[in-house]
């Protein structure tokens, strides 16, 4: 029986981390050289963890599926990165950032983890600046900030609409420096297929070399997963097409508990679906809601051009419903409000599944130049995709699958339920509760990788200084490799007629319809039934051309889609179990009279962590109670 011990240290909230890290055990520089650490993923959390561990002197092996570590999807984060610097003198503090995140997450995250994330946020900004990240500055040469959803201060640092790119490339440069020094060995174009456990500890991974198809063994004293989220489970999402759940899922199959799988953020401002061949949805940064006003016509099915609809006939529904936060309400609230208007028949565009995001007033007040300075690249991107100039007419936007708050369960040390297996960044579940606030994912990823994991992993590795290099010619590696090969063999031998992508599309549609922005018991049950049927069809009708021992992009996709069936199943199970609405998880049956999420703190103030029991069976639910010692649980109001 697994017992969840979150290892939260005792003591006052503000002192927990500093006291705890001072007491963590250390590994001496001479011993670090004898210890190997594997990091899977080179996004912000993986690359920052790998470079920091390399700087400390560990032997680090890093893996990514892309051709270069610079391409990980952190690169696409647009709007910014939060920190509690209080440069604007607007009353910000570590405590306020902590409180905003706890409230934004609808009181479903751990106090201690969130406080720590807020605490290290300021160091992250200092470090990025030192790495040469060109954040926006004011005319006095100081760092500039802007506002983001769900908060009333201006604490978001940014580099136009390319903050993720600039932070990632800064981190990529420190990783490159360690590669050149030889402390980090980089393995590109690898998919992690399995985790190897020896004597109960994570000791290695099995990978597939995507160019040659070779199945490889890699060992280490500890393994860090930095493999991102599983938002591509919806097929159409704002994520990169290669983003996948397979590495985290392999760890889950091997015993790592998976927490809050149904907590998936639907981002309110994506460019709507334009055609049936669409392969991805492009995000328009939340920062646009600083200056853009969201509206729909007051009349149903109003087919007039938006510029012809007079002011009095527009419904600025976010400003109407949430006067205190207006257009800057958190993402879950904004998404549901858009869906509500569209479902009620007020949506715009050919499909009726869009609302307007209008910059007319901001341009009139601030001038086109200022708006271009802030959002130029986003406006350009919008025009390229839609052919519409957003300086002249409002953007059309609609919610899209985006970020997964759920992920591998980790304790305060960021260790999963498998000793020696860590999860950082989006791949863990720890800091965002049931809804993530904008600009806090870059913050959490870099905090985890630069300032938290390098401390906590040392405490674990201190026990391993006498453990020689882990051999890969053991029975455990044999078995893991054999299983991975059999799985590939099984996929290759189906020989049906349909592509992996066509299954992925259908799978995504089922989840979007039944486990998306609004869920119900009936819908979820139906969703599970449909998923099971489709999965059966997948294992009969899939077609993967070519062979397994060559560069084969179709095989890569098929292996990922096979895992998404299981991920989707668990999402539905979790959504069904959680008989309340909180953050991004909205159950139709549980809402207030005004249509807001209705939490049930008495029964659901816990983390739901699932244990794998084999495909198509209900996973075993373990509950970690959430204890609030510092904040009072309240209805989350943005009115």
């Amino acid at each position: 029986m697994i017992k969840l011990d979150n290892k939260i240290p005792q003591g006052p909230l503000a002192d927990k981390w500093s006291n705890y890290k001072s007491a963590l055990r250390l590994v001496s520089p001479a011993n670090k050289r004898k210890i190997d650490v594997i990091v899977v993923g080179t996004g912000l959390s993986g690359a920052s963890a790998a470079s920091s561990l390399g700087e400390l002197g560990y032997n680090v092996k890093v893996f990514c599926f892309q051709d270069s570590s610079r391409r990980a999807h952190s690169v696409a984060a647009q709007g910014g990165i939060n920190a509690a610097k209080n440069y604007k003198n607007d009353g910000d503090s570590v405590y306020r950032l902590f409180y905003d995140m706890i409230k934004g997450g609808d009181f479903r995250a751990r106090e201690a983890n969130v406080y720590r994330a807020a605490e290290v946020s300021n160091y992250v900004i200092d470090h990025f600046t030192a790495l040469g990240v060109p954040f926006a500055r004011d005319y006095g040469g100081m760092l500039e900030t802007r506002s983001f959803g769900g908060v009333q201060v201006s604490r978001t640092f940014y580099a136009k609409g390319q903050t993720g790119q600039q932070c990632l490339l800064g981190t990529y440069s420190s990783l490159s420096r360690q590669i050149a020094k030889g402390t980090v060995k980089m393995y590109e174009r690898r998919d992690m297929l399995d985790l190897v456990i020896i004597d109960g500890k994570a000791r290695g991974i099995i990978t597939r070399n995507l160019l040659t198809g070779e199945i490889e063994r890699h060992s280490a004293h500890a393994v860090v997963l930095a493999t991102g989220g599983y938002g591509t489970v919806f097929y159409l999402s704002t994520l990169a097409l290669g983003s996948n759940a397979s590495a985290a899922w392999a760890a889950h199959r091997k015993g790592a508990l998976f927490a809050n799988p149904s907590f998936i953020q639907i981002h309110p401002t994506s460019i709507p679906v334009l055609n049936e061949y669409q392969s991805k949805l492009t995000l328009m940064s939340e920062s646009l809601r600083n200056d853009g006003r969201v509206w729909v016509p007051k009349e149903k099915d109003d087919k007039r051009h938006p510029n012809q609809i007079p002011e009095a006939e527009r419904d600025y529904y976010l400003e109407r419903r949430y006067p205190a936060f207006g257009n800057l309400v958190p993402r879950d609230v904004a998404s549901r409000a858009a869906k509500e208007r569209c479902d009620a028949g007020y949506g715009v565009g050919d499909t009726g599944l869009a609302v307007y995001l209008d910059f007319k007033d901001a341009i009139a007040k601030q001038g086109e130049k200022v708006i271009e300075d802030k959002y130029g690249n986003l406006f350009e991107m919008y025009e390229k995709i839609t052919g519409i100039n957003p300086y002249k007419e409002p953007m059309r936007i609609y919610p899209a699958g985006h970020y997964t708050m759920g992920g591998l369960w980790v304790d305060y040390n960021l260790m999963t339920t498998i000793p020696g297996l860590y999860a950082v960044g989006e791949s863990n579940f720890s800091d965002h509760g049931a809804n993530r606030l904008g600009a806090s994912s870059l913050m959490q990823c870099s905090g985890d990788g630069y300032f938290i994991l390098p401390y906590t992993i040392g405490d674990y590795l201190a026990d391993d200084i006498r453990t020689p290099r882990i051999a890969t010619n053991t029975a455990e590696f044999d078995r893991a490799e054999k299983e991975a090969k059999e799985r590939i063999e099984r996929i290759m031998s189906i020989n049906g007629t349909q592509t992996a992508t066509s299954f992925h599309k259908r799978l995504g549609k089922i989840l979007w319809d039944h486990c998306g922005m609004v869920r119900s018991e009936e819908g979820l049950k139906k969703g599970i039934e449909l998923l099971e049927q489709l999965e059966e069809e997948f294992w009969k009708e899939l077609r993967v051309p070519g062979t397994a021992d060559e560069f084969n992009q179709e095989l890569e996709k098929a292996l990922r889609v096979a895992d998404f069936f299981e991920v989707g199943r668990l999402m539905c199970q979790d959504a069904l179990d959680r008989k309340e609405s909180c953050g991004a998880h909205f159950r139709e049956e549980f809402q207030t009279e005004q249509g807001e999420a209705q939490r049930n703190d008495a029964e659901y103030a816990h983390v739901s962590a699932y244990e794998y029991t084999g495909n198509r069976k209900d996973a075993i639910l373990h509950k970690e109670p959430l204890v609030y010692e510092n904040v009072e649980l309240k209805e989350r109001s943005y009115k």
């Binding site: 696409a76 610097k85 040469g141 100081m142 097409l241 492009t282 007629t497 077609r543 051309p545």
Partner: protein, 250 residues
């Protein structure tokens, strides 16, 4: 819309490649270029063939994975646009589209339209960073940076590492790519300290990886999807010469 596609097919680096012709019907003008290729691949797979391999990931113009030589131009006919952001409405109905991989000695071919761009990573590893360890930094606002300079550094830093500059250049020169990184750091106070060593190491590595010299055709700037200016090449040249001339004698 209907297109005739001439696509470079090559199973791997050790066999000879060839152009293959495909006819693709019912293409929607709303499709992106890569969606059009998805659509083609879907048909190829369903009729028992091997799909065209090409690289892609974010599909929003920022990861730098995609890059196809379309009708004789890297990333196709539109300026400041990556292949994934290009849409079929830009092409004439019933026309022929020629699709090739990047061609450069420094980017060896892997399969079909996929090339190996790891030479770029090697150049960055040679010096495209600021030597600073996690934890050893000071408060960010202790060093004010003039906004114009900081914005200019940003203009250089937006490079996505796609390799279009090399593909566009008749000499396969990587000067635009290398100069963007050199200039970004040389302009910022944090990066100035080791600017001289950095530019020398990066330029040496660039030459070693087999990239050609610059002969000022500006094709790189013209085809750069991020609009990076050749002024940075001038800036890198200045950095390079001054490092050679001003270097303290050992």
């Amino acid at each position: 819309m209907k297109f005739k596609l001439k696509i470079w097919r090559q199973k791997n680096a050790s066999v000879k490649g060839t152009f293959e012709d495909y006819t693709l019907d019912n293409v929607s003008p709303e499709m992106s270029f890569l969606q059009m290729l998805d659509y083609l691949n879907q048909q190829i797979i369903e009729s028992g063939g091997e799909p065209v391999h090409f690289e892609h990931d974010c599909r929003e113009g920022i990861c730098g994975s995609c890059g196809l030589y379309i009708n004789g131009r890297p990333h196709g006919p539109l300026r400041n646009t990556t292949t994934c952001e290009l849409h079929m409405r830009e092409f004439e109905d019933n026309s022929t589209i020629v699709i090739e991989p990047w061609r450069s000695k420094a980017f060896p071919l892997i399969k079909d339209l996929v090339v190996d761009r790891s030479a770029f990573d090697k150049v960055i590893q040679a010096g495209g960073f600021i030597n600073v360890n996690t934890g050893s930094t000071q408060e960010a606002n202790n060093i004010p940076i003039n906004k114009t300079i900081s914005d200019r550094a940003f203009d250089a830093a937006v490079c996505i590492g796609c390799g279009a500059c090399v593909a566009a250049c008749k000499n396969s020169s990587a000067m635009l790519f290398v100069s963007a990184k050199v200039s970004q750091f040389a302009m910022l106070p944090q990066g100035k300290i080791e600017a001289a060593e950095r530019v020398e190491r990066m330029v040496d590595k660039m030459d070693e990886m087999g990239f050609g010299f610059c002969s000022n055709t500006y094709a790189c700037e013209f085809d750069c999807p991020k609009g990076i200016s050749v002024e940075f090449i001038a800036m890198m040249n200045r950095e390079f010469f001054s490092s050679k001339v001003c270097k303290p004698k050992k």
